[in-house]
């Protein structure tokens, strides 16, 4: 099952991208409609794949589709609001 070598192309800002993310909301932000806002502020398609909301934490698994730069801006905005944003493979960096 040999893996074919791919030619590396440099990603451009308008290259289509999809990111799969875990959003973790601290208790004080649980009521905020961030996903609605992300869909309106940025040209991205939001798709909720899973969610758990308790009094202590809100955890949402979200797919973001759009141009690479828009997806990046949407993530930066979410982080700025105080949401913890991790790739679906949380903890990619190991010890």
């Amino acid at each position: 099952m040999a893996i074919k070598k791919k030619k590396v192309s440099v990603s451009k800002p308008n290259t289509p991208a999809q990111q799969r993310l875990w959003l973790m909301y601290p208790p004080k932000l649980i009521k905020k409609p961030f996903i609605y806002e992300v869909g309106h502020k940025f040209k991205v398609v939001t798709n909720i794949r899973q969610a758990t909301i308790t009094d202590e934490i809100g955890i949402v698994c979200l797919e973001l589709d759009g141009a690479r730069s828009e997806v990046g801006r949407a993530i930066t905005w979410l982080v700025k609001q105080g949401v913890n944003v991790e790739p679906v493979e949380i903890g990619v960096i190991a010890g």
């Binding site: 099952m1 040999a2 893996i3 791919k6 590396v8 990603s11 990111q19 799969r20 973790m24 601290p26 794949r49 899973q50 758990t52 308790t54 202590e56 934490i57 955890i59 698994c61 993530i75 982080v79 913890n84 944003v85 991790e86 790739p87 679906v88 493979e89 949380i90 903890g91 990619v92 960096i93 190991a94 010890g95």
Partner: protein
């Protein structure tokens, strides 16, 4: 896929919904994003494996190869594992427990940490799947192990590190000829970029797309402990937690040994150890929660500094099921525990080892581990890797002139002080 290509593995299986996937380089379920895990044909393993067969093989972790996720013979790290299990009587006395053992992966081959177990499994499987380039994102031990094991197997390697990593740790990967890429930015940004790189380039990213195979390597620590104890699971095992994966896999390892008939049924308890400066799992366990809250790490135990532990939920579940507990220790307690282990048993552990010993001390003192029982402490890395953490905390060498009289005067003074 034929039997030849899958050994004793059956499929990759989602830990959440149970959906099965082919035995390829993939790691999350497409339906619920649950982590994938290797499922084995235990009936067939039970018919093949025996204590005698294992005893006839070399003393490495591969003596349990039927229970590890490779199809054929191991091709990377054939000498890894079977580290010493030491009866730690002097430390036992200090901690006030009847019997204590240290599983010492500080001397694991070739890079002096337990990561050589998981990496040799991931890279052996990567070679079976036809990969020529391997990669990882790491702040230390994993990077060193990927670089070394890839070099010995003739694989090309990329190691991604945060830009603020100490020079010594970078050298420990560069020396093996790895492509070391330092990424500027916050931990979260580095994390997201590495996930993207892993998705884009089709390399064997050991702790991303190879994670189902990689994580299984940790089970070998449990197999070895059980065999070294005379084929029984210990009553209590204290395990350091970063992602929480090692704890869940050691528990799985004990369960598998029962399943394939190598040990008899018992109720081994597995305890999790964290540093107070990064303790999302132990904080949740102590509060009785079944989920953790992400934290920003601030501890000298860098190899355990994972603020969003990928297997935290499962580690909490295993501790609950085995009726065990978690605990955490401060940086000062970590240093004290490193010294205690070194002074009583002659083992110099890295900061994660200090965490485990410090937590064992607390669990025994609080009665959560009964004093009349027997426990195993897992030491996962060598102290030579984290010298900075104890620099300035071990006293100083006393200087004298090249004169016998001066040395005798020093001894006399010491006797006076000790009298």
């Amino acid at each position: 896929m034929s039997e030849k290509h899958q050994g004793y593995m059956k499929a990759l299986k989602c830990r959440e919904c149970g959906r099965e996937y082919p035995l390829e380089a993939t790691h999350v379920c497409e339906f619920d994003f649950g982590p994938l895990e290797v499922a084995y044909d235990y009936d067939r393993i039970k018919k093949t494996i025996s204590r005698d067969l294992i005893a006839s093989r070399p003393k490495t972790m591969w003596r349990y190869r039927e229970l590890l996720p490779i199809a054929g013979e191991p091709t990377v790290g054939p000498q890894v594992g079977f580290t010493p299990l030491i009866k730690a009587d002097r430390l036992a006395k200090k901690l006030g427990i009847r019997e204590l053992w240290i599983k010492n992966d500080a001397v694991n081959y070739p890079t002096l940490s337990f990561k050589d177990r998981v990496v040799s499994v991931a890279l052996s499987r990567a070679k079976e799947l036809g990969f020529e380039t391997v990669a990882c994102a790491s702040t230390g031990n994993l990077a060193n192990s990927v670089a070394a094991n890839a070099a010995s197997a003739g694989l090309k390697s990329y190691v991604f590190i945060p830009s603020d990593l100490e020079q010594g740790k970078i050298l420990n990967s560069l020396i093996y000829g790895a492509n070391v890429i330092s990424i500027k930015g916050h931990y979260d940004e580095v994390n997201r970029l590495c996930a993207e790189i892993a998705g884009k380039f089709g390399w064997a990213f050991v702790n991303v797309n190879m994670r189902p195979y990689y994580a299984e390597g940790s089970k070998s620590m449990a197999y070895e402990i059980a065999e070294q104890l005379g084929w029984r699971a210990p009553q209590h095992t204290i395990i350091p937690m970063a992602s929480g994966s090692l704890l869940t896999k050691i528990h799985k390892g004990y369960q598998e040994l029962v399943k394939v008939g190598l040990i008899s049924e018992s109720q081994p308890k597995v305890y999790g150890a964290q540093a107070t400066g990064c303790s999302p799992i132990s904080t949740a366990q102590k509060a009785g929660l079944d989920f953790f809250k992400p934290v920003k790490p601030d501890t000298i135990a860098k190899s355990l500094a994972i603020g969003t532990p990928a297997d935290g939920f499962y580690a909490l579940k295993v501790m609950r099921e085995t009726n065990a507990a978690a605990e955490d220790v401060t940086d000062d307690e970590i240093r004290d525990a490193i010294k205690l282990l070194a002074e009583t048993e002659g083992i110099f552990a890295e900061t994660a080892g200090g965490v485990t010993v410090g937590v064992a001390k607390k669990l025994i003192a609080s009665g959560k581990i009964p004093k009349e029982d027997s426990a195993v402490i897992c030491v996962t890395g060598n102290g030579l890797k984290t010298l900075d953490a104890v620099n300035g905390y071990c006293g100083k060498a006393r200087e004298i002139k090249p004169s016998l009289r001066e040395f005798e005067a020093l001894l006399a003074q010491e006797e006076k002080v000790n009298a």
